[in-house]
Amino acid sequence: MSLLEVKDLHTSFFTSAGEVKAVNGLSFNLEKGKVLGIVGESGSGKSVTAYSILQILTHPGRIVSGSIRFRDEELVGKTDAEMREIRGNKISIIFQDPMTSLNPTFTIGNQLEEAILLHTNRNKKEAEERAIEMLRLVGISEPEKRIKQYAFELSGGMRQRVMIAMALACEPDILIADEPTTALDVTIQAQILELILDLQKKMGMAVIMITHDMGVIAQICDEVIVMYAGSVCERGTADAIFYHPCHEYTKGLMRSIPDMNDDDKKRLVPISGTPIDLLHMPPGCPFAPRCDRAMKICLKEKAKEYWVGHDQLSACWQNIKDGICSTERPEKEEEEA
């Protein structure tokens, strides 16, 4: 039994213009103590996946079908009160923008203690001690002074640390990090990623890292899911995805990132066209309209996920044509020396 099992999740936004299928049949398992990366461009449904797990979708979005099981307990269909027991306690989230996700009218201490008082049976004084302890853990200097300050008095990196402290105050089993470093500079990003990894090891929790940055994925993830327009293109270990991409979208994504180690400045190979309009989804593979190697079948029918390696699944008709995939999980290949 996995810690979190998501099966055939469909989440849609019912707008006046029609149904927007933000997540379209997503399944994955998250094991204890693992870091799972979900990578994709804007509109790929990676954030909506996170919001679906915690059921913090805003109107007009809702889960249409599918199942989300946490420790073998079904989350879909739980009431708000039941979900409140899980949110911030068992599963926590850090949002992208640390500037707007803290309440400007409460002190840092107030906001930190709220979760602690709600989910544990600590009293006010103990909660404050715990808040100070958490701030110290995330590397904030003079935490006794900081808990009396407001969000505007802190820098972006500090605010993100406070967010992390808040998310981890109740020692959750799963931390969902939704683009936690996108709004931060690279040197601060390095600090925050290191902090998340460090705390993940200390507390033994599982992390879902949602990002568009392949560099962040390479740095901290064990496993990766590549998403495009609400569907999974490819999944596998970080090494498999980076060194042996099989889906045409993953390959295109890799080719369009400038390589830091390339001194000759080879021309980038961009993916042509523009991202798909989620209101008018084609029946086949969502990437087919932009794919250079699209075949007739790609436009008609979505490919199923097949094994393309011991640790890698890919949903691309091209793999079937090239004969590099199978329905059975292949044996682990010996590492080349």
Binding site: E41, E194, G215, I257, M260, N261
Partner: protein, 330 residues
């Protein structure tokens, strides 16, 4: 400060030469109290014709202000800007300079007027500089520019909100090209775009540069993008220039302690290299630009700081051929 008045002889090899550029902004810091925010403090550099100079640094380091001050969107507090061997200091110079120097802005959503059609946005520079004789000529030029950046000319009568982020950035680039400039300041032109679209725009900027012999000042915080597009890179920190060298040299062999830590923090999209990467994680945050530390601005966070660093601000000097750095300890 008498030496500021010393005569500067422009070098014809360079298209743009910037000397001791300063840009201070007065900030209200209390009742009847203003403090000078030194956004750019004593920055000098040259750009050759047809070259791309990358300008990197963290948010608040003054890189955008440098770009805007060069085009005199702000009146510089001090310093000189020489373009094609001529100093830009009076109104006539400035008007001609602004025809030859253009800017592409970061945010493709807020930099296009929502009440203007694409045709009017693209034609604005040629309207301002009266660069056509007939209406037909104007229209032809608009279509030429739109084709150049890969936009459908049938969309000329549409408004900006009808386009995606990548297409809007193309509109912004078409506008910048309209007055046939020689020099373009690209201020984070791809930061707001998705990776797949980013590569399209980068390739287009490179093609346009080759075709028209354009010179770019490319401002961005994404170091791998800057490395890809630039010939040379300059690094800024708290309004000061820290290091400048060729793109390969600066990314492979940075010398300034700040650049070294900056390069080590860049996430590399390769798990094996990433795992071995020795990251130098800087302590603390960037100080407020209102309270720039005494001496070298990087000194409080620098591992190699000495007593000298806290006293005097190091000047840029050539530490290796073509490699400039501002540090006492190199």
């Amino acid at each position: 400060m008498e030496n500021k008045e010393r005569a500067f002889t422009p070098d014809p090899e360079f298209l743009l030469q910037v000397r001791n550029l300063k840009q201070y902004f007065p900030i209200n810091t209390g009742f009847m109290k203003t403090t000078m925010l030194k956004a750019v403090d004593d920055v000098s550099f040259d750009i050759r014709k047809g070259e791309t100079l990358g300008l990197v640094g963290e948010s608040g380091c003054g890189k955008t202000t440098v770009g805007r001050t060069i085009l005199q969107l702000y009146k510089p507090t001090g310093g000189e800007i020489w373009f094609k061997g001529k100093r830009i200091d009076n109104k006539e110079d400035l008007k001609e300079f602004r025809r030859q120097a253009q800017m592409v802005f970061q945010d493709p959503y807020s930099s296009l007027n929502p009440r203007m059609t694409v045709a009017d946005i693209v034609a604005e520079p040629i309207d301002v500089h009266k660069m056509y004789a007939t209406k037909k000529e104007r229209e032809e030029r608009i279509h030429e520019l739109m084709t150049l950046v890969g936009l459908n000319t049938e969309h000329a009568t549409r408004y900006a909100h009808e386009f995606s982020g990548g297409q809007r950035q193309r509109i912004g680039i078409a506008r910048a090209l309209a007055s046939q400039p020689e020099f373009i300041v690209c201020d984070e032109p791809v930061s707001a775009l998705d990776v797949s679209i980013q590569a399209q725009v980068i390739n287009m900027l490179e093609d346009l540069q080759n075709r028209f012999g354009l010179t770019y000042l490319f401002i961005a915080h994404d170091i791998s993008v800057v490395k890809h597009i630039s010939n040379r890179i300059a690094v800024m920190y708290l309004g000061h220039m820290m290091e400048m060298a060729s793109a390969n040299e600066l990314t492979k062999h940075p010398l300034h302690p700040y650049t070294i830590s900056l390069m080590s923090a860049v996430p590399i999209p390769d798990p094996k290299i990433s795992r071995q990467q020795q990251r130098i994680v800087l302590k603390g945050d960037v100080p407020s630009p209102l309270k720039v530390p005494e001496g070298c601005p990087f000194q409080p966070r620098c591992e190699r700081a000495t007593a000298e660093c806290a006293k005097t601000c190091p000047a840029m000097r050539e530490v290796a051929p073509g490699h400039f750095a501002a540090c006492h300890n190199i």
